[in-house]
C-alpha cells in the first residue's frame, strides 16, 4: 500500500519504455483508438492530409511549379482560391503537392530510423556482447550531436537533396528506436516463455520474430508517430533556411518563399504553417493517445485485482476481552481516542472507496497497543490517519481522532505540524526507502530538530550524535556523516528510530518496525524499542502482522480484518484464548510458519538474511 507505483514520465518520446512493451495490447489498440475522441480526431486529420496529398492531381489542375510572372503575389481569383506566391505560382496546388513531398520525406526518415534502430536494438538486446557495447556508444554519440548542425554539414557535401537529408536525419534519429527496442528486448529475453522456446529448439530468428517483435510492435508504432512529427518539423526548418531543394514543392519551401513577403501577404506563411502545425499536432496527439490507452489497460487490470476483496459488511460485533492483570495496571491518561474512524480513497470515477470502517481505539500513556492483521487489513491506513499523513486521495470519511482531547481527524497540515515531530513520532517499515538518498543521515536528523525545537545547528548536531549512540550505533560520527546507501538496513532502522524519538514523543507509531530486518537484528530492535518505551514513558501503537512481536512487547492488541477491528483485548488473553475465527487462523498460520521456518532461521542467520515482508 505504501509502495509507489512506477511512473512513466510523459513528454519525452523516449519514455515509452519497457513498461509498455511488457504488455502487448495490439489486438484491440486500433479498435480502442477509434472509440477515443482525441485518437479518432487525430486519425481523421491525418487521413485527410494524406488523401489530399495523394489525390493532389485530382484536386487541382494547376502545375505547382508553373510560374506566371504577371501573377506574382496575386490575390485569389476564380480557379486560384488561395492566390499566387512570390514567383507567381498557384498556392493551393503547391500546398497540396507539397503534402506529397513533405510527408514522403518524413516517412523516409521514419523508415530509415526504424529499420536501423529496431534491427540494431534487437541484435544488441538479444545477444549483448561487443555489438551491444559498440552500438550503445554510437547511439550515445548520435544523440549528443545537434541534428541541424550535422544536416548543415551534410548539405555542404551532398547538395540540396531533400531525400538524402531525410535519410541522414533518419540515421540521426535511430537511437530513439534503438533505446526503446533494446530496453524491451532486454526485459523479455530472460522470460520463461523465451527460455521455453529456446529449449524447444526454435531458432533465434524465430524466437525474435514470434516472441520479441510482438512485444515491441506497439511501442514502435507510437514512437513512429512521434518521430514522423519531428522529421516534418526539421525538414521544414532546413528548407525554411533556404537549404532545401527549391525544385520540389514542400511546406518548408513555401515558408521560405512566403517569409520575405510577410508584410505584403501574410497568407503565404499561414497556409504552410497551418499544414505543418496541424499534421504535427495530430501525430503527437495520436502517439499520446495510443500511449495513454496502453497504460490505462495496465492500470485497469491492477485496479480490478484490488477490488476483488470480500464485500463490505454492515457493523460487525467486536469481540472484546476483559482486562487482565497487566492491562489493569495501565492507568496513565488517555492520550489517543479514536472513535468509529472510517477512511476512504477517491477513485477516478468520482466515487470513494472505503478502506477502513468504524475503527475505535483507546491508547493510554505508557501503553503499547498492537494493531495486527494481514496486509491490506487497514492497520497502516489507521496509523497514517492518526499522523495526518494519508497518501494522496485518502481522507477521513467519518468518526473522530482525539489527541490529548484535541480533535485532529480533519486538522490542516499546519496544525498537524505542531504535533508531528513534537508530540507524535513515526517509525516506518522499510528502513532504506525512508531515508532521503540525497542527504546525509546527520542532516536528516538535524533539520527536523532545528525546525521543531528552534535550536541551533550545533545543539541539534550534538543531540543527534547522542541519539545515534543511544540507539546502539557503534560509530555515531561516521554514521552521522554517511549517506543512506552507505549503511546497512539494520543501521538505517536504528537511525529512523533515533529520528523518531529525537523529539521525546508522547505517542510513537511504529509501522512493522522489524519486518524488513533480519532475525538477529529484529530482536535487538525490539529490545531497543522496549527500553525506549520505559525511558520516555510513551504510548506506542505497534502495527505488525507478527504475533511473535505482539507477545513480546504489546500490552493490548486489536486484530484487524478488511478494514475493521474484529477482536480486541489484553495481548496475553488474545494470544492464549483467541475467540474470533480469523484471529485463530492468523495465530495458527503464523505458528505454523514459524515452525516450518524455525530450523532454517536459527541454523545460519546470515547478516543479509531477510524474512518475508508483508
Amino acid at each position: 500500500m505504501t509502495e509507489p507505483t512506477p511512473l512513466v514520465a510523459p513528454g519525452s518520446p523516449l519514455e515509452a519504455g519497457p513498461a509498455l512493451a511488457a504488455r502487448s495490447q495490439r489486438v484491440s489498440l486500433f479498435g480502442r483508438l477509434l472509440k477515443h475522441p482525441v485518437g479518432l480526431g487525430s486519425l481523421i486529420v491525418l487521413v485527410l492530409v494524406a488523401l489530399s496529398a495523394i489525390f493532389a492531381p485530382l484536386l487541382t489542375q494547376h502545375d505547382p511549379n508553373f510560374a506566371s510572372v504577371g501573377d506574382v503575389l496575386g490575390p485569389p481569383t476564380d480557379g486560384h482560391p488561395l492566390g499566387f506566391d512570390g514567383s507567381g505560382r498557384d498556392v493551393l496546388s503547391r500546398l497540396l503537392y507539397a503534402g506529397r513531398f513533405s510527408l514522403a520525406g518524413a516517412l523516409l526518415a521514419t523508415v530509415v530510423a526504424a529499420l536501423i534502430g529496431v534491427i540494431t536494438g534487437l541484435i544488441a538486446g538479444y545477444y549483448h556482447g561487443w555489438f551491444d557495447t559498440v552500438s550503445d556508444w554510437l547511439a550515445g554519440l548520435l544523440m549528443a550531436l545537434p541534428g541541424i548542425v550535422i544536416l548543415l554539414a551534410a548539405r555542404a557535401v551532398i547538395g540540396p537533396s531533400m531525400w538524402w537529408a531525410m535519410t541522414i536525419f533518419g540515421l540521426l534519429l535511430s537511437p530513439a528506436y534503438y533505446r526503446l527496442v533494446y530496453a524491451a528486448v532486454t526485459a523479455v529475453r530472460n522470460e520463461l516463455y523465451v527460455d521455453a522456446a529456446k529449449v524447444a529448439g526454435l531458432t533465434d530468428a524465430r524466437i525474435i520474430g514470434r516472441h520479441i517483435l510482438t512485444v515491441v510492435r506497439a511501442p514502435v508504432i507510437i514512437q513512429s508517430a512521434m518521430i514522423m512529427g519531428i522529421a516534418i518539423a526539421i525538414q521544414a526548418g532546413l528548407e525554411f533556411l533556404g537549404l532545401g531543394d527549391l525544385t520540389v514543392p514542400t511546406w518548408g519551401n513555401m515558408l521560405n518563399d512566403g517569409f520575405p513577403n510577410i508584410y505584403t501577404n501574410l497568407s503565404l506563411v499561414l497556409w504552410p504553417t497551418a499544414a505543418i502545425t496541424v499534421t504535427s499536432i495530430a501525430l503527437t496527439m495520436l502517439a499520446n493517445t495510443m500511449r495513454d490507452l496502453l497504460e490505462r489497460s495496465g492500470g485497469r487490470r491492477r485496479r480490478r485485482k484490488a477490488t476483488t476483496r470480500p464485500p463490505d459488511r454492515e457493523k460487525v460485533e467486536i469481540l472484546t476481552h476483559p482486562d487482565d492483570e497487566r492491562t489493569r495496571r495501565l492507568t496513565g491518561d488517555v492520550l489517543l481516542e479514536v472513535r468509529d474512524l472510517s477512511i476512504g480513497y477517491d477513485q477516478s470515477d468520482k466515487t470513494v472507496k472505503t478502506v477502513v470502517h468504524d475503527v475505535s481505539l483507546t491508547v493510554r500513556r505508557g501503553e503499547v497497543h498492537g494493531l495486527i492483521g494481514e496486509s491490506g487489513s487497514g492497520k497502516t491506513q489507521t496509523a497514517f490517519a492518526v499522523l495526518g499523513l494519508l497518501p494522496d486521495g485518502g481522507h477521513v470519511t467519518g468518526g473522530s481522532i482525539a489527541f490529548e482531547g484535541q480533535e485532529i481527524a480533519h486538522a490542516s497540515d499546519n496544525e498537524m505540524s505542531k504535533l508531528r515531530g513534537i508530540k507524535m513520532a513515526y517509525i516506518p517499515q522499510e528502513p532504506m526507502s525512508n531515508l532521503d538518498p540525497a542527504f546525509t543521515i546527520g542532516s536528516q536528523l538535524v533539520e527536523p530538530m532545528m525546525v521543531t525545537r528552534q535550536i541551533s545547528k550545533r545543539e541539534a548536531t550534538q543531540k543527534a550524535l547522542d541519539l545515534l549512540a543511544r540507539v546502539g550505533i557503534p560509530n555515531p560520527k561516521r554514521t552521522f556523516a554517511a549517506y543512506p546507501h552507505q549503511v546497512s538496513g539494520g543501521m538505517a532502522q536504528r537511525v529512523l528510530i533515533a529520528g523518531a524519538v529525537s523529539c521525546e514523543p508522547d505517542l510513537l507509531i511504529a509501522d512493522e518496525p522489524t519486518t524488513a530486518l533480519d532475525v538477529t537484528v529484529q530482536a535487538e530492535v525490539l529490545d531497543l524499542l522496549r527500553s525506549l518505551e520505559d525511558e520516555f514513558h510513551m504510548a506506542v501503537i505497534l502495527v505488525t502482522h507478527n504475533f511473535g512481536v505482539v507477545a513480546d512487547i504489546c500490552d493490548r492488541v486489536s486484530v484487524m480484518r478488511d478494514g475493521r477491528i474484529v477482536e480486541t483485548g489484553p495481548a496475553r488473553s488474545i494470544f492464549y484464548a483467541p475467540r474470533h475465527e480469523y484471529t485463530k487462523a492468523l495465530l495458527a498460520d503464523i505458528l505454523e510458519e514459524d515452525h516450518a521456518r524455525g530450523p532454517l532461521v536459527t541454523g545460519t542467520p546470515g547478516p543479509e538474511q531477510r524474512i518475508g515482508s508483508s
Binding site: 505504501t2 509507489p4 511512473l7 514520465a9 510523459p10 513528454g11 519525452s12 554519440l141 549528443a144 550531436l145 545537434p146 541541424i148 548542425v149 548543415l152 554539414a153 548539405r155 555542404a156 557535401v157 551532398i158 512529427g229 521544414a236 526548418g237 533556411l241 537549404l243 517569409f259 510577410i262 501574410l266 504553417t273 505543418i276 504535427s280 499536432i281 503527437t284 496527439m285 499522523l387 499523513l389 497518501p391 494522496d392 499546519n414 508531528r420 515531530g421 507524535m424 513515526y426 516506518p428 522499510e430 526507502s433 525512508n434 531515508l435 532521503d436 538518498p437 540525497a438 536528516q444 533539520e447 527536523p448 525546525v451 521543531t452 549517506y483 546507501h485 529520528g499 523518531a500 523529539c503
Partner: protein, 313 residues
Amino acid sequence: MLMFIVRRIVAGIVLLFVSTSATFLLLYLGSGDIARNILGQQATQEAIEAKQVELGLDRPLLTQYVDWLGKAVTGDLGASWFTSQPVTEGIMARTWVTLSLVLGATVLTAVISVALGVWAAVRHGWVDKLVQVVSVLGFAVPNFLIAVALVIVFAINMQVFQPTGYTPFSESPSGWIATVTLPIIALTIGGIAAVAAQVRGSVMDALRRDYVRTLRSRGLPFNRVVFKHVLRNAAGPALAVLAVQFIGLFGGAIIVERVFAIPGLSDIGVTSTAQGDMPMVMGFVVVSVVLVVVVNLIIDLMQGWLNPKVRLS
C-alpha cells in the same frame, strides 16, 4: 569525485575527436569542385589547379587531416576559402550571440518548468491540465513556427518588439533586450514543453517516496519537504532532459535566428554550407560540438552534486 570528473572530461574529448574527424573526412571527400566554385565557371584549368595547390587540396586526404588537426589543437581553425577571414575570428563573435540566446532560453526554461512542474504535481487542477496541453503543443509545433507566429503577433500587428535585427548588449542593454526577447520566448516554449512535463513527472514520483512521509512525520512542513527534499531528488531526471533540450535549443536557435535576422552562428552555418566553405563549416561543427560537450559536462557535474551515489562510487 575526481575520477568521475576525469572520466566525463575524457568522454567529452573522445566525442569531440570522433565527431570532428568524421565530419572532416566526409566534407573533404566531397570537396572536389570547390576551386571552380570559388573562381567561377570562366576560370582556366591552370588557375583552378593553382587554387587547389594554394588550398592544399592536392595533398593526400590524410595529410590534410593531420595538418588540420595539428592546427586545430592549437586553436587555429584556418581561414575561409571565400573571404580569407580567419575561422576563429568569424565564428567567435557570432558564438556569443547564439550562446546568449540559448543560455537565456535554457535558464528561462529551467525556472518556468520547475515552477509549473512542481505546481502541477502538488496542486493538480488547471495548472496540471495546462502543463499537459503546453507539452503537447510545444512538442508538436516546431519552434521556428512559434517564432514566425510571435513576429506576426507582437512585431507586425502589435508593434511591441522590433521584428528583426540585433543590438549588442555592450551597445545598449535595453536595445539588446528588445531584440532578444522574442527569439528567447520562441525557443523557451518548446523547452518548457519537455522539461515541465518531466519535472511534473519526477516530482510526483518523488512525492510518493516513503522518506517524504517520514520527514513530514518529524514535523517538517510540507512545503519545506517539497522544496528541499523532493525537488533535489526530482532534479536528476529533469536535468537530464534539460541537457537534451539544450542540444535541441541550440539547433532551434540556428533556425530562429534566421526568422529574426540575428547575426549568430546560423548566418555562418547557412552561408558556408551553401558555398561549400569547408574551413568555416568545420569551425561551425567544432564550436557546436564543444558547446554540447561543455554543457553535458556541467550537467554531469551537477548530477554528481545532486546524487551522492554517483559522486561517491
